[in-house]
Amino acid sequence: MENKLSDGQISRRSFLGWLIAGLGALIAAVLGGSGLGYFISPVFKRKEEGWVDVGPVKDFKSGVPAKIEFAARRRDAWVTTEHRASAWILTSNNRDFIAFDPRCTHLGCPYRWDDAKKQFLCPCHTAAFAIDGQVVSGPPPRPLDRYTTKVVGGRLFVQPLQAKA
C-alpha cells in the first residue's frame, strides 16, 4: 500500500484482495444457491397425480349410486403405502361420472345410499344429502366432496384426495 500509484492504477495487493473476494463470492453463490434450491425444493414439487383405475365404465348402472372399493397407492417422499379407499360413483349416461368422497362433510362418518328415500344418509348426526351431493338436512357445512374423474379407453379413473389431517 505504501507505493505511490497514479490515478486508475491498482496495486498488486488490492488486485489480489479483489480476486479473493470475487472467487469467494462465486463459491458462496454456487454453494449457497444450490443449497438454498435443495432446501426450498418442496415449493417447486408438483403434486402427485395418483389416478386409480376403478374398472370398465359399462359396469356402472345409470342413475344408481354405487359404492366402489379400491386400493390407492400413496407416495410420501421415499415411502409408498397402499391403503383401502372407497368412493360413491354416480352416472347418468355412462360417459360423465361423479365420484363422491365417502366421508360425510360434517365429521367424516361414512354415509350410505338409501334407495327408498333416494338420499345419502349419514348415521352419525342424521345428515341427508341429495343424489347430486347437495345438503338436504342436518349439520353438514357443504355438499359432498368430489373426486376428480376421467374416462380413458372405456375405463373409469378417479383421483382420491388425501384425508385432510
Binding site: 454453494l31 444450490s34 443449497g35 434450491g37 435443495y38 425444493s41 421415499w78 415411502v79
Partner: protein
C-alpha cells in the same frame, strides 16, 4: 456505512478480530513451497462444505434399514439438486482424507510440530482420527451392498484386536450382528458425536495456530551455525 462499522466495532471489536486472524505476521515462503501452507485452510473450507451439505442431506435421509436406501434414491432422483449436493458431500469426504494426509505430512516434514507447537500437533492428530471416523461411519449410511460389506470388513478388523477386539466389534455394531442398531449408531456418530468433536478440535487447533504463529520453512544449517 462508517457509522454501522463503528457501531459493530464498539460491540464486537471486529477490527481487532480481523487483525488477529488475517493480518498476523506469517513467515515468508516463496515458490511452490508456499502452496504447502494452503492445505490447512483448504481443509477448513472442505469441512465447512461438508457441514452444509451434510445438514442438507440430513433433511431427506432416514437411518433405518427399511428406508435408508430409498431415501438416498429419493435425494438422487427427486430432490432438486439432490444429486449435486450428495456428490459434493461424497467427493468432499474423499478430498478431506487426502488433504488431511497431505497437511499432516507437510507439518511432519517441515518439523512444524516441534516446540512450542506440540499441542497444535496433538489436536491436529485428534482431528485426523475424527476424519477417519467420519469417513468410516459415513460409508455405511447409503446402506447398499458396498456400504454393508465394507462395514462388515471394518468391524471385523476391529474385532481382531487381542482381548478387547470382540467387545469393540460388539460396541460398534450395537449388538451381535450388523443391523438396525448398527445403522442408527453409525448415523449418530456421523452427524452428532464426530462433527461436534471435530468442531471443538478445530477451534482449539486454530486458536493455537494464531497464538503461536506458524513455523518458518526449515532451512539447511550452514557450518558453524547453531540450531536453536
Amino acid at each position: 456505512m462508517t457509522a454501522l462499522r463503528a457501531w459493530i466495532n464498539e460491540r464486537l471489536g471486529w477490527d481487532k478480530i480481523w487483525q488477529a486472524i488475517f493480518e498476523r505476521r506469517i513467515p515468508e515462503a516463496k515458490g511452490p513451497v508456499a502452496w504447502l501452507y494452503t492445505l490447512g485452510s483448504a481443509l477448513l473450507f472442505v469441512f465447512l462444505v461438508q457441514i452444509i451439505t451434510g445438514a442438507l442431506l440430513g433433511m431427506n435421509y432416514v437411518p433405518s434399514p427399511d428406508h435408508a436406501h430409498d431415501s438416498i434414491r429419493y435425494i438422487e432422483n427427486e430432490v432438486l439438486l439432490g444429486k449435486f449436493i450428495r456428490g459434493l458431500h461424497h467427493w468432499g469426504a474423499t478430498l478431506m482424507v487426502i488433504l488431511v494426509f497431505l497437511h499432516m505430512l507437510r507439518v511432519y516434514f517441515m518439523a512444524a510440530y516441534k516446540y512450542p507447537r506440540e499441542a497444535t500437533w496433538l489436536f491436529g492428530v485428534g482431528r485426523f482420527l475424527v476424519v477417519m471416523g467420519l469417513g468410516f461411519t459415513g460409508y455405511l449410511l447409503p446402506w447398499d451392498q458396498k456400504a454393508y460389506w465394507a462395514t462388515v470388513v471394518g468391524v471385523n478388523i476391529a474385532g481382531q484386536a487381542p482381548v478387547v477386539g470382540p467387545y469393540v466389534a460388539k460396541v460398534l455394531m450395537g449388538g451381535d450382528a450388523m443391523g438396525a442398531a448398527t445403522l442408527t449408531r453409525f448415523y449418530a456418530l456421523h452427524v452428532l458425536v464426530l462433527p461436534l468433536t471435530a468442531a471443538l478440535l478445530i477451534g482449539v487447533h486454530l486458536f493455537l495456530v494464531i497464538w503461536h504463529g506458524i513455523s518458518e520453512v526449515p532451512r539447511r544449517v550452514g557450518k558453524g551455525e547453531r540450531v536453536l
